[in-house]
């Protein structure tokens, strides 16, 4: 597993559908017509329009939001509006904070999920199936509803206002363990593990040198989705971070509220676009992996 395209070629078989889907024969019955492209174009416009329109207003002056017919062409003021964004809220700090939070959560989730997923997939131990059932059952638990005691704990520890208060509750997910287990159960042959044991490798050595390299494609997919989920999270950071140490999402919410009932529309929309840029870059680079991850059932909604 040292090819560079491994994530792409292996990801589609990540889950448990009904086995392999052979390359489809292109027969006359599924050749699309004009209507297909017209409808797809309509969906495309619908997907892109809100972002495009934000850029249009975000690059003009605020009063242009009143134009009839609505403005559809960008103006020259995007940089000026962006500067206003950074003057109104501490967006630079927010971006750094969000990178730290999402990065730490991603590393932790991917590492602990791989470790536990490997144990559930390939090691024999008493209580294995019972514990695995517990993992699956907890996947359905809406942990967001535990925020009140969690908030009390963070206040008690005086962690409110620190990044740790956001990072620590996100260190593990049940879904991550389940996901890695499903992947590793098929991808590592049992004989390989046994061979390593016979050769005298320690358990940790086997994990590190056999399981980890094999798990890499799934780790990449899990990492992507974990990063995105942490980046876009709002309720919990809003509760514990406070205005002086914002994440991107809480900073954007503060920006949105900054003008009271007479907001600077251009500045707010420019800020919304700036908040999207990091994930947009990630999307451009890893879009194909995201798509195959979703299509192989990689993600819970």
């Amino acid at each position: 597993m040292t090819t560079t395209t491994e994530a792409r070629s292996i990801a589609p078989s990540l889950i448990v559908t009904d086995g392999s889907t052979p390359r489809r024969a292109r027969r006359s019955y599924d050749r699309p017509g004009f209507l297909t492209y017209a409808l797809l174009t309509a969906f495309f416009v619908g997907a892109v329009f809100p972002l495009w329109w934000s850029f249009v207003i975000g690059s003009r002056q605020a009063s242009d939001i009143n134009l009839v017919p609505p403005a559809v062409v960008p103006g020259p003021n995007f940089i000026a509006n962006a500067i206003k964004v950074f003057e109104t809220v501490d967006f630079a700090k927010a971006l750094v904070n969000s990178v730290i939070i999402s990065g730490a959560i991603t590393l932790s989730v991917v590492f602990f999920s791989t470790l536990a997923g490997y144990a559930f997939a390939k090691l024999r131990f008493r209580g294995r199936s019972g514990l695995m059932v517990a993992v699956v059952a907890t996947m359905a638990v809406p942990t967001q509803l535990g925020i009140i005691p969690l908030f009390m704990i963070m206040s008690e520890l005086k962690w409110t206002g620190t990044l740790g208060a956001v990072i620590v509750p996100g260190l593990v997910t049940a879904f991550g363990v389940f996901f890695m287990r499903q992947y590793l159960v098929d991808v590592i042959p049992d004989e390989l593990i046994e061979a390593a044991r016979v050769d005298g490798a320690s358990m940790w050595g086997t994990f590190w040198h056999v399981a980890l390299p094999a798990a890499r494609p799934a780790m990449a997919v899990l990492g992507l989705f974990t990063f995105m989920a942490a980046w876009t999270d709002f309720l919990w950071p809003l509760l514990v971070l406070g205005p002086n140490n914002p994440s991107v999402q809480t900073a954007l919410a503060a920006l949105n509220a900054s003008g009271g009932h007479t907001p600077d529309h251009s500045m707010v929309l420019a800020g919304a676009l700036i908040s999207v840029i990091p994930l947009l870059i990630l999307f451009v680079v890893t879009g194909k992996q995201l798509i195959s991850g979703i299509m192989s059932g990689a993600v819970k909604g």
Binding site: T21, A47, A140, G146, I147, I148, T232, L269, I294
Partner: protein, 328 residues
Amino acid sequence: MTTLAERPAAGLTFRQKLSRFDFKASPYLYVSPFFILFGLLGLFPIAYTMNVSLYEWNLLKGQGDFVGAGNYISVLTDPFFWNAVGNTFSIFLLSTIPQLIAATVLAALLDQAIRASTFWRMSILLPYIVAPVAVAVIFTQIFSQFNGPITGVLQLLGMDPIRWGFDPFASHIAIASMVNWRWTGYNALILLAAMQSIPRDIYESAALDGAGKIRRFFSITIPMIRPTMIFVVITSTIGGLQIFAEPKLYDGQSNGGANRQFQTIVLYLYEMAFPRRDFGRAAATAWILFVIIILIGLINFAISRSIASQDAGRTRARVARTMKGVRS
């Protein structure tokens, strides 16, 4: 395994013992970080929410007297709570049903030999990377009563603006649009994966039998992807009942509109807990929502199981019939 050679040749029995301990204990060591952290930070807070909900809480004094079910009674008799329940389900239905239809149509469009398929897939997934906060900020400007593109177009046509932020139903549509915009493409890809796993020879024999495109879609595609559709509904239920960022930001100054016309359950919980510091009622609300989510999950599960078992029989019969038709 380069590490092997470096090992000192210590006493064999001790090494064997060590190896045996390593073999027995390692699995527990590997799964324990997850269980410890998840127990402390995931399960314990939910369980402890129950304890919090049994006490009176005060803005200044903090925890007060034990009140038993008092908080539950005051939540369940609060008209604002039921208003929030109604709003949540209204927004949930307005987002789930149109979204499922649109995602299915989109998946069917993509499940053909289209050109530039990666481009189309990427473009419909684009909204998914936009965080709910940014979606809410952008859509608040789009669904504005006073200005923005929709009001602009309506004015152009000589029509009155829609009172998006004030009329309850219109505000629900605006918030549901945020959810729909972000998730339709994502769910379409899940449904597309299900469609691609349908064996193509079923379509071929149906086409030979003279079934048209529309007929094939309704008699083959829809029944075959039904389990995946149910999966999509379940996941959007769990998410949809906990919707927060979109209604919170749709009117950044209040908690769900001046008349709470779009206050959702989690927003109600938030208002109880944080501006008011009534942790008891907020915790009771969390438990009630928890029960609602589990109940709906179980109902979904029961429905999907009965449909799945019916489907398996029906589909098998249909395929058998079709194949017989082909052979004769």
